[in-house]
Amino acid sequence: MGSYQHAQDNWFAAFIIVFIAAAVLINIWRARAGKQLYIRRIPGLDAIDEAIGRSTELGRPVTMIPGLTAFGVEAVQALTIFKYITKQIARFATPMRLLTANPTVYAVAQEAISDAYNEAGRPDLYDPDSIRFLSSEQFAFASGVAGLLQRERVAANFMFGIFFAESLIFAETGNIVGAVQIAGTVSFTQVPFFVAACDYTIIGDEFYATSAYISREPVLLGSMVGQDLAKLAFGSLVVGGAVLSTILGPNHPVIQLLGKPGGWEPFMQWLSQVLGRG
């Protein structure tokens, strides 16, 4: 077994984690207390309903692909979005396919999609065969998805999750069959491919904003505000660190604290010296 990271390795990083957690929780509490919070428009998410409408008109299926996402926070987020899409689909009885490469995601997706049909009041439309585990091998999965997109001539293709080299195979195949495509990923190396081949692309932390945007739940909106505060703090740290590094030099204890693992101890020694002198 390899060694694991601990807070003791870099107390400053641990402090940042606690700060982000506090920012998120305090804003969730504020949102729950009734504070009105604003979230900016994300065109890709507004287009979800439009894409579903097109599928319904054409009578062709909607596909949802969580990529090679293992079961974790990305998978939960992707399935949350797919659950919302399924609820919309259930209103119009549009056929859907959810294709996964991870067996754990497959098991959870079955429950989530079944719940979505129940919540939409159409449990009769739920077909367990519409959620498919194709293969855990990257390119076997890619060929399975590409084949299904071609054979079923899908009208809308939603790709949310973690993607690798197979992303372009999905996006280009969807483009060839004329599907409206909306992709959202945290894998920034795949973003250019999605931008080139999809109608809308949701990048970076917008992916995590999706559930808040769709549901408008106070808890999620509060969390978003907390995330933004944390980003602001990070931005300030980057700018402040650059200025201080220029003035103090890269080996100063303050710079070591900000930018180097194990920078806590030299900083504390320096601080005690400064305070001792004072």
């Binding site: 998120v24 969730i28 498919r132 080299a165 372009l168 945290v186 920034f188």
Partner: protein, 281 residues
């Protein structure tokens, strides 16, 4: 199978955990929705607390461990067991779907037959090979196994994988064509920048820079005088410009996205830990 005391204990732990899980299922079904939610939230919180405590508690300087590190490692191993179990579930779902397709002669049922035959053949030779490799159940390697395994895995599966990967090259062409069509100011900037990077990182960039007489090397004198004409001309070499675009313009944007993603993931993890995320739970 288990030849050490530790493995036997690990097996007992896993069996115990399985019994506990199966005992919890009827309990969950008898509880009212509110009670069910509270029980799940409690278990989730305790599990999350375990991981958080392992990270935040001080560790021994010599071993780099605290008292939760060893159980933490075992727990990670048990997560693999869960994944392996769910792989069986996924495979079952796949076989069930294609068996139905074949039996009920649904549309394109021929593909299902191909899948089922391929699945059984690959699984048969894979299991046979594993047993022979590990010398289990007295299974030996035979010429038939050698030939079939090579044919199926090395000459078929690996080649099919490579074929799918190679397809990406053609898809990149068509995607790049659409991305680089000059339709707006932004698309024009994208096209221009991409051209510089593409030419700059291949030998053509060096050839063009050399041909128009730009300095070939950065000398010590140029390093000490960044505003000299020679230094400025050197920095206009296409490989240098391409590197500058990648390292100075592109890298900070990628890092900024990574910051956002990291914060988003942490916020999501906190919501899941405290059962505040109600999307699929």
């Amino acid at each position: 199978m288990f030849d050490t005391r530790e493995n036997i204990w690990a097996a007992f732990w896993m069996i115990g955990a399985a019994i506990l899980i199966f005992a919890l299922i009827p309990l969950l079904q008898t509880l009212p929705p509110r009670g069910r939610y509270l029980l799940i939230a409690f278990v989730t919180f305790i599990a999350g607390l375990f991981f958080a405590a392992e990270f935040f508690l001080p560790v021994d300087e010599k071993t780099g461990k605290n008292f939760l590190t060893d159980p933490f490692q075992r727990l990670q191993g048990s997560l693999q067991v869960i994944t392996a179990l769910s792989l069986g579930l996924g495979t079952y779902g796949l076989i069930r779907l294609h068996l139905r397709n074949a039996v009920q002669r649904r549309a394109q049922w021929g593909y299902s037959i191909v899948l089922l035959v391929s699945f059984v053949t690959m699984a048969f030779f894979s299991v046979w090979n594993t047993l022979a490799e590990k010398g289990l159940l007295g299974v030996q390697r035979t010429p038939l196994l050698e030939r079939a395994f090579t044919l199926l895995f090395d000459y078929t599966l690996v080649q099919l994988d490579a074929t799918m990967f190679s397809l990406i090259a053609f898809y990149i062409f068509s995607a790049a064509y659409r991305a680089f069509r000059i339709r707006s100011v932004e698309a024009s900037i994208l096209m221009f920048t991409a051209m510089i990077v593409m030419i700059g990182i291949v030998p053509l960039g060096k050839f063009i820079s050399d041909s128009i007489g730009l300095p070939i090397m950065m000398t010590d004198e140029m390093r000490t005088n960044p505003f000299a004409l020679e230094t400025i001309l050197y920095s206009l070499r296409l490989p240098e410009v391409a590197n500058w675009i990648l390292n100075v313009l592109n890298a900070p944007v990628q890092r900024a996205i990574e910051f956002g993603v990291g914060i988003g993931a942490l916020a999501m993890a906190i919501r899941l830990w405290l059962s505040l995320e109600r999307g699929i739970t």
